[in-house]
């Protein structure tokens, strides 16, 4: 498959990348790992006039400790996220979710930031980003700004990023010592989630002190199951509490509503167990 012609640019700094993006205009696009963009180009579903490859911006790679939060560079690959100790210790949910993405080949190229910017409602990283209150740190011609996940995901494949902006880092508040689980239902290993549930819980003194639950692929973007979270807090992590809370993941009677409830129950059960 052959994409339409485009100009290829390889900036060596964030400032240069932002400048290039502005200069090339609306039809320019950032390319990160290319695991979502290249298929789109090859099928000619999009025909950007210029691709600005941010693969050379080493400052966007890696995970840093920033006090109460982690800063995850947008260009950090799935493979790196899976193996990062900071992520493991302070945002276990992200590691568990990333483990389920695609296959090793794709995890070596696909990036954390690219997944969020692509904003495929079936993409696995949106729900945990929302549930963990992640904040996007964005650079544009007007400087830097921060957008919380709750405002970042706007619609199917649409984020709060302006065409001339680049996602630099994602700030993820530390959830040290929380237990977590990602319950994903997909038909074959390389298929996307039909529905998936990301859950993180903090248990203190035999009671759930805090809970975070995000749903993948139940709407035009990730959904935070706030009613479920509320039903858990202050309760002991028992089977009956969990099954009661899980019922609040959805009120409909369709297949996906059912999955939202069932998988929420399973995600929470697995999370509190371990």
């Amino acid at each position: 498959m052959i994409p339409a012609e485009f100009k290829y640019l390889f900036p060596s700094s964030v400032d240069e990348a932002v400048r290039m993006l502005a200069e090339e205009g609306e039809d320019a696009k950032v390319i990160a790992g290319g695991q979502s963009l290249v298929p789109v180009l090859r099928m000619r579903l999009a025909a950007p006039t210029a691709l600005i490859d941010i693969g050379g911006l080493t400052e966007l790679t890696g995970v840093r400790d920033d006090g109460d939060s982690l800063l995850i560079g947008a260009m950090t690959t799935h493979y790196e996220v899976q193996r990062d100790h900071l992520v493991h210790d302070h945002a276990l949910l992200l590691k568990l979710v990333t483990d389920t993405i695609a296959d090793p080949q794709i995890r070596h190229r696909g990036t954390f930031g690219g997944s969020l910017c692509h904003a495929d409602p079936a993409g696995d990283l949106l729900a945990p980003a929302l549930a963990l209150d992640a904040v996007m740190i964005i650079a544009g011609p007007g400087g830097r700004r921060e957008v919380p996940a709750s405002e970042f995901f706007v619609d199917y494949f649409t984020t709060a990023l302006a065409p001339d902006e680049i996602l630099l880092d994602v700030r993820v508040p530390k959830h040290t010592g929380w237990s977590a689980h990602y319950e994903k239902l997909n038909r074959v290993a390389q298929a996307w989630s039909i529905v998936a549930v990301a859950a993180a819980v903090q248990v203190r003194d035999g009671a759930i002190s805090a809970a975070r639950v995000g749903l993948t692929n139940v709407g035009s973007g990730p959904v935070r199951a706030v009613d479920v979270e509320a039903a858990l807090v202050g309760q002991e992590p028992s089977a009956s509490v969990i099954s009661e809370a899980a019922l609040r993941a959805s009120t409909g009677d369709g297949y996906k509503d059912n999955l939202a409830r069932v998988l929420t129950g399973r995600a929470l059960t697995a999370a509190v167990a371990g």
Partner: protein
């Protein structure tokens, strides 16, 4: 039969082919670069049924690098009609099938215009600059709707029915009258099954290169059928067959999907002739899914008559088979190949098969792994389970009651075939033992009693198939346009090395390895000294190519015959050289000797003597080569018993295969490693039909499963570890005793899985679930809701990028 010290036949040899394939050393068709080569890109119809009112190529023609833009009108005078080699009835309706649509398109994906440019990039860019005006026609998609003839795919034909083909055991004298059996039956069961549309999904996309230099046309194509292709291209274009050379280099899979004379092969040839320059076309994956032929797509109405003791007395099969928009090479015959298999391993008194072939505005269907036989096996194995449930008889017992006993072979079936050999009892006993059948039933009972959310099901599929295609006289009787023989040549080279030329055309099967093993044993030469040549009509001038699990049973037999001819001549010459009577010459381990003496001549010495021809017996021609052609008397009939255990998660509808046992009887095994590979791949493909794969369309006829994000092909990660074993009842219809293994796994596994899933949830009120048994379908069935045949739930990925994705 003579043998080397350690026989090659039966050895699990690693494949000769693998090093070059795995290390990327081979040259696929798309790797070819010829001087001055042009590149062809194909504009395809986005609509399923429309009149073409105008095509404006002016913008495209002036794009960079474009040599010419061609429409159907430009080629109308020379393109003729793509061939259909199987007119199943005298009055079969077959519309003209232009390679490039002229004034009407009949399926979405049909070729409408060609760009020929100096690079594939320029060709692809210019495609977008062609403007086509379409005037929509009513789209016919559903088989039963099509049958009403309200809207017609081809108005000129006056109907959407292409042909009706009937077999009736009473009329054929092979059995009693099925209507009488049904009328007299104690139990009658009627069911309708849908065989969904499948996409062959071979790994290497199709690719064609045509070189028109030196007054010859050389066609490289990723095809399964270089010989048939040469014949058909010559017939369609009028180019002398002697001026056409077809080469199938290494080909990356076919599964029947490359058993075709494709529009693009013909178009490349026409373009090369017109331009006087080499031309290449290579498809994209989506293009492949939109335009290469599809498989299956039948509606099967099955009526089974039985006695209350479980004895089946009659079977009536009424099929609607979706041809798609045109009849390709063997499109109409695919369901007919199933006609002889619905009775399977059983002894039914009466059988009637009626198939109506129907046109729709979809991609043409044609051969796909198993071709007709998986559909038949599915239907009868599902029906045996339905009967077992109806009569409350253990499903294996009901099969046993009806199957042909081992002492009854050879057995002539109600469909008129004579099964030469088999032992269903042995394969079944072994399968049940490996599976732990009784323990599994106990576990199932436990889960039912507990009301577990994860229920266990056990599915049985006892199958046979007819392969080793095919006795030419039978093909003739079925009105097929060609024979079913196969040919082989052996060239004994003066240095003692051996060239084997085969008319089969491997595309992943490993013939080079297996053919070498056979010849090594036969002639006592080292495996490594044998080179197998195939897939080039200049070296292998005749052959019927590879499909229908025929290559070993038919092509391998031709090879044995050729080897025996070499030996016969060598024996005469050896006797001459050793100055003895031919009757006293013995052959063992590659050497001739005179019985009771120490006089010995190695085969290599005899070959050299034949080559130099200094001293040959009176009348003997120099050289030691031999050709042989084998036309089988009968098909071969592999069989086996497959058992599948599935867990069904009743809360999500997810199905997981927890144990799969396949005990196959494929006759003599030349290379167990290759046989295991064929079984594993076949199982994966059959399981995929049961659980994952389906070509879907929207109401406009657009294919909504045109990427691998939407068309779910399982990988190793999705499949269980298979427990396989074999029983060996050699075929009596060929000297190798081989039956064929290319399709067995695919044929057997689909009903094993579906029976298993239904067995898991039947006590919860579920009677049937359509394939593929997606979690949503299973869950919906468990809710007691009718399956609206709705598309699958959103699954994102490319499917969700493409607004028209099948999983929106």
């Amino acid at each position: 039969m003579t043998a080397t010290a350690e026989p090659e036949v039966g050895k699990a040899r690693l494949r000769k082919e693998d090093a070059r394939l795995i290390t990327g050393q081979t040259r696929w068709t798309d790797n070819l670069q010829l001087t001055g080569m042009l590149h062809m890109a194909v504009l395809r119809s986005p609509v399923a049924h429309a009149r073409i009112t105008n095509i404006d190529v002016s913008r495209a023609t002036s794009m960079p690098g474009v040599a010419v833009v061609l429409t159907g009108e430009d080629l109308a005078a020379e393109q003729g009609s793509l061939p259909c080699a199987w007119p199943i009835t005298e009055d079969m309706k077959s519309p003209p099938a232009p390679a490039l649509a002229v004034d009407q398109v009949n399926f979405a994906g049909e070729a409408v215009a060609l760009v020929i440019a100096d690079s594939a990039y320029h060709a692809a860019d210019a495609l977008e600059a062609i403007d086509v005006d379409y005037e929509d026609l009513p789209v016919v998609l559903d088989l039963e709707v099509a049958l009403r003839d309200n809207d017609l795919v081809h108005p000129d034909l006056g109907t959407n029915k292409s042909a009706t083909w009937i077999f009736d055991s009473a009329e054929a004298g092979a059995g009693t009258d099925v209507e009488a059996e049904i009328a007299a039956a104690e139990v009658v069961i009627e069911r309708t099954f849908r065989q969904q549309r499948l996409i062959p999904a071979f790994m290497e996309p199709r690719s064609v290169v045509v070189d028109s230099s030196a007054g010859m046309f050389t066609v490289w194509s990723a095809t399964q059928i270089p010989h048939i292709l040469r014949w058909m291209l010559s017939a369609v274009t009028g180019i002398s067959e002697s001026k056409l050379r077809v080469i199938a280099p290494d080909v990356g899979g076919g599964f029947g999907g490359k058993l075709q004379v494709t529009p693009e092969e013909l178009l490349c040839l026409l373009v090369a002739r017109r331009m006087g320059r080499p031309v290449k076309w290579t498809e994209t994956r989506t293009e492949s899914m939109l335009s290469a032929h599809h498989g299956r797509d039948q509606l099967q109405k099955i009526t089974l008559a039985a006695r209350r003791d479980g004895t089946v007395t009659g079977l009536k099969v009424e099929l609607l088979a979706d041809m798609g928009a045109y009849l390709r090479l063997v499109t109409p015959g695919v369901p007919i190949l199933g006609a002889f298999m619905f009775n399977s391993i059983y002894k039914f008194a009466a059988y009637r098969f009626v198939c109506t072939n129907v046109f729709t505005n979809k991609v043409p269907t044609d051969a796909y792994r198993g071709a007709g036989r998986p559909e038949a096996t599915f239907a009868i194995e599902r029906m045996m389970d339905e009967l077992a449930v109806e009569l409350d008889i253990e499903p294996m017992k009901i099969r046993e009651k009806n199957w042909i006993k081992h002492e009854e072979f050879p057995f002539t079936t109600v469909a008129g075939l004579t099964y030469d050999s088999g032992n269903y009892e042995a394969a079944t006993a072994r399968a049940m033992e490996l599976f732990g059948y009784d323990d599994m039933r106990e576990e199932q009972a436990r889960r039912r009693a507990d009301g577990s959310t994860v229920q266990l099901g056990i599915g049985i599929s006892t199958y046979t198939e007819m392969c080793g295609l095919a006795p030419s006289r039978v093909l003739g009787a079925l009105r097929y346009g060609a024979g079913g023989w196969e040919t082989a040549s052996i060239r004994m080279l003066p240095t003692g090395k051996v060239e084997v030329i085969t008319g089969t055309s491997p595309h992943g099967q490993g013939h080079e390895t297996v053919w070498s093993q056979i010849v090594a044993d036969r002639l006592g030469v080292p495996f490594e000294d044998i080179e197998v040549l195939h897939g080039d009509t200049a070296t292998s001038h005749k052959g019927m190519d590879s499909y229908g699990s025929r290559s070993l049973a038919v092509g391998g037999t031709a090879l044995v015959q050729a080897a025996d001819k070499v030996l016969a001549k060598a024996r005469t010459l050896a006797a001459h050289m050793m100055e003895c009577d031919e009757a006293d010459v013995e052959f063992a381990s590659g050497s001739f000797s005179v019985r009771g003496t120490s006089t010995v001549r190695a085969l290599g010495d005899v070959v050299l003597a034949a080559h130099v021809a200094h001293d040959l017996p009176e009348g003997m021609e120099p050289g030691m080569d031999a050709d042989a052609t084998f036309d089988p008397d009968n098909f071969s009939y592999p069989h086996g018993t497959h058992l599948c255990a599935t867990e069904v998660d009743t809360e999500t509808g997810m199905v997981k295969i927890v144990r799969y046992v396949a005990v196959d009887d494929v006759g003599t095994v030349v290379n167990p490693l290759i046989v295991d590979g064929q079984v594993h791949g076949g199982l994966a493909q059959g399981i995929a039909q049961a659980l994952y794969e389906e070509a879907t369309h929207d109401e406009m006829g657009t294919l909504t499963s045109a990427t691998f994000a939407d068309y779910l092909v399982p990988s190793a990660a999705d499949l269980p570890a298979f427990l396989t074993d074999r029983t060996t009842t050699p075929a009596t219809s060929n000297p190798l005793g081989a039956k064929g293994v290319g399709e067995a796994g695919t044929i057997a596994s689909t009903p094993a899985v579906v029976n298993s899933v239904l067995d898991a949830v039947r006590h919860l009120g579920v009677r049937d679930i359509e394939m593929p048994m997606s979690p949503e379908r299973v869950w919906t069935a468990l809710q007691g809701r009718p399956d609206e045949g709705a598309g699958e739930v959103a699954a994102g990925g490319l499917g969700s990028i493409d607004a028209q994705g099948g999983q929106s």
